[in-house]
């Protein structure tokens, strides 16, 4: 048998080594876990004390999940700034951060919540996205755990997307607004006027098309980009109040004003406002067409401003002006905006330290409101003091526009929930593909409400 042993395959030995490693390293890892000086845990955790006390003196650990993974995201910068301040102010609280990329985050947070395993504090969108969480009693009503004066600076109107039947369940930090970004230089080149009205927009579209330039860049493959146009067009025809009522299923979509909104999109498609293969472009591809100076217009959220003004990312910094989506002649809803405070933080009902968590949420969101604003990510949802700070001129234009706002509707895909979202996005894409009429669009949207 000795002969056999000599011939024992190297692979077997290797495999055995792995098995040994499995035991050894496995133990090593779990030791690491409890070792506060472990180098890889700097950002993460010293889990050595998870006692559940809520009094200020006791040590508390908070698990926090969010989706700001890259530094190019203005909110990531402001969150980290706020977090540093919080940590300095609260030496007894250990905050463990887990950041996950946007799309994956949605899956992750939903899975965790349905398994009753949500972290203490988590990022979420308000309105429809968090509706099922609230309905199923998975999130804490934040006002129950906060002192009365904690929300003195909160702009209550922006908190409406976090207000459900019986109270406030989360706190926003920033409002976004939909902006038509126009490259002034390109408009000058073709001799067109930056549009304030829908008619001027149509004239500009014609002027650009005559020069072979695609007038408006849109990444309709990511359906929410296309949706912005239908949503804002419907604001112009139906107004924010009626839109909101329809989204709440209190009003029918099967009305002329909703048909008109869809028809505006169809008219724009027909007039050649977009690239004929817009459905093949992602948000990133569409955005680059503006940043490279290939397309004169994009309709996007206020978050795009900081990227436009960053010379490392854009060739058009300081050449772009911000406009609200053009108004209709004689329209009564011309000063209304697509947008709202939809990003926010919530406290899980399974958290053992709800008071600490709620205070954390208030602390962070209030500071983020200012920092994110200065980063150009949007309009603060809290009253802030920005005297002495320099604000980017494009961001300032957006702030000025928004300060005259007469109403908001948040993007429909965040207001609706579950299957309604995909139905809506599908229908909008069909508008862009011209496979559906405006009447059919309104009828099929109404099926969602029935």
């Amino acid at each position: 048998m000795g002969g056999f042993n000599k011939k024992t395959s190297k692979i077997v030995t290797l495999l055995l080594c792995f098995v040994l490693m499995l035991g050894v390293v496995g133990c090593g890892q779990s030791k690491d876990d409890n070792n506060p000086s472990s180098p890889s845990t700097s950002n993460d955790a010293t889990n050595n004390d998870t006692s559940n006390g809520t009094s200020e003196e006791e040590k508390v650990t908070l698990e926090v999940w969010h989706l700001w993974t890259t530094e190019s995201d203005g909110n990531a910068v402001s969150f980290n700034k706020a977090l540093d301040e919080y940590r300095a102010d609260h030496p007894n609280v250990t905050v463990n951060i887990d950041a996950t990329e946007n799309e994956a985050y949605k899956t992750k947070i939903k899975t965790a919540i349905s398994a009753n395993e949500a972290p203490d504090v988590f990022f979420t969108w308000g309105a429809g996205f968090a509706q099922p969480f609230v309905d199923a009693d998975k999130v804490a009503k934040i006002t129950d755990y906060l002192p009365d004066d904690a929300l003195a600076n909160l702009n209550m109107a922006s908190a409406n997307n976090f207000t459900y039947d019986d109270g406030l369940y989360g706190l926003p930090f920033i409002s976004w607004v939909g902006i038509l970004y126009c490259n002034q230089e390109m408009f000058d080149d073709v001799g067109a006027k930056v549009p304030d009205t829908y008619d001027e927009l149509m004239t500009a579209i014609e002027a650009f098309n005559a020069k072979g330039i695609v007038p408006i860049t849109v990444g309709a493959k990511d359906a929410w980009n296309a949706m912005f146009f239908q949503n804002v067009a419907t604001i112009r025809t139906a107004g924010t109040d009626l839109s909101t009522e329809a989204l709440k299923k209190n009003e029918s979509y099967d009305q002329q004003v909703f048909v008109d909104g869809a028809q505006m999109v169809l008219d724009m498609v027909e007039a050649g406002a977009f690239d004929p293969s817009a459905l093949g472009f992602t948000y990133d591809e569409a955005k680059i067409a503006l940043l490279n100076g290939e397309c004169p217009m994009i309709y996007q959220g206020s978050w795009l401003a900081s990227e436009i003004q960053n010379p490392e990312l854009s060739l058009v910094s300081n050449k772009v002006v911000a406009k609200n989506f053009p108004g209709l002649t004689g329209g009564e809803y011309n000063k209304q905006f697509l947008g709202g405070a939809i990003d926010g933080l919530m406290v899980s009902n399974t958290s053992k330290n709800k008071e600490v968590a709620a205070e954390f949420v208030a602390y962070i969101t209030e500071r983020m409101a200012k920092e994110s604003f200065l980063q150009g990510a949007g309009i603060p949802a809290w009253t802030i003091d920005s005297t002495g700070e320099t604000v980017d001129p494009l961001v300032q234009q957006i702030v000025d526009l928004a300060s005259e706002s007469e109403g908001y509707v948040v993007a429909w895909d965040t207001f609706l929930s579950g299957a309604d979202v995909s139905t809506h996005l599908d229908l909008v894409q069909e508008l862009f593909a011209q496979t559906i009429t405006a009447e059919e669009f309104a009828k099929k949207m109404q099926e969602v409400n029935e």
Partner: protein, 279 residues
């Protein structure tokens, strides 16, 4: 004369076709390399397949300096190595019993294992998440090793059973007569004989673990246990992404794959030429 020329021409044509196909197959790697050296403006610019104008080495510098790339890399190696070792051993054992031992329900057991090939991974996400949480495996490397091993088993057993069945009975009989135990036979005779299969199985298991994303994102929340794919996806922002750096990350992730594959593939070759299976 004529026939010879014809054959020669055919051979040349055959080579031309083979080389064209080879070019098409290898192009993605080359493209990824150029992609990783570009800025966003170039990546989405006029000609996405052009060479980078100014080679942005900074993309690599940034991800190596800023991110926890080395931690991620280590985690991926760790998880993948253990998964391969673990799944290869237990699947080879099961396959041996199924292919060469005599028991009534072995065909049914094989079918039972093969069921696993038909299961879409997405369907097991929520149940597995609950399980990982309950058992405390959540947020440890085991939360990935266990499901990866589970999903690797059916394929591995499938391939091993096929190989074991092709080995003639005489190989074992001789050893039995020499008085070897069944465990010795398995370890000393059978495993070396199925080396090519082990190499094949290892490659497939490696690929599925190394590139897996959904479980890796959902079952690990701690920075120190995150794997490479998750780390790279972390470079995709909500509204802003530096695609060049993402490309650099993908190159770093693809490199071990290519190296290991080339290495393993020569192992496969070796076991063919040394004649592990001659029959």
């Amino acid at each position: 004369m004529n026939l010879r020329e014809k054959i020669k021409n055919l051979k040349i044509l055959q080579y031309i076709i083979l080389i064209i196909v080879a070019f098409v197959q290898i192009y993605p790697l080359f493209w990824l390399l150029t992609f990783s050296l570009k800025s966003n403006l170039e990546i989405f610019g006029k000609n996405p397949l052009a060479l980078p104008k100014s080679f942005m080495i900074s993309n690599y510098a940034n991800i190596l300096v800023n991110g926890n790339l080395l931690t991620y890399l280590f985690n991926s190696v760790f998880v993948t190595a253990i998964t391969i070792a673990f799944s290869t051993i237990i699947s080879a054992m099961a396959a041996y019993a199924i292919a060469r031992m005599c028991w009534k329900i072995k065909e049914h057991v094989l079918t039972y294992f093969l069921l696993g090939l038909m299961i879409p991974m997405q369907a097991t996400l929520l149940p597995l998440f609950l399980m990982m949480k309950r058992t405390g495996a959540y947020n440890t490397p085991w939360a990935l090793i266990l499901p990866y091993t589970g999903f690797a088993l059916p394929m591995a057993i499938f391939i091993f059973v096929g190989f074991f069945r092709s080995i003639p009975k005489e190989m074992e009989e001789a050893a039995f007569i020499d008085g070897a135990s069944i465990y010795q036979i398995f370890r000393v005779i059978m495993l070396p004989l199925i080396k090519p299969a082990i190499a094949t199985v290892s490659i497939f298991t490696f690929l599925s673990c190394w590139n897996e994303l959904m479980f890796a994102i959902t079952f690990i929340s701690k920075e120190q246990f995150k794997t490479l794919t998750v780390g790279i996806m972390g470079m995709v922002g909500m509204y802003a992404t530096n695609w060049g750096e993402l490309g650099a990350g993908l190159v770093v992730a693809a490199l071990p794959t290519v190296i290991i594959y080339v290495f393993m593939s020569s192992q496969v070759e070796k076991s063919f030429t040394t004649g592990a299976i001659k029959g």
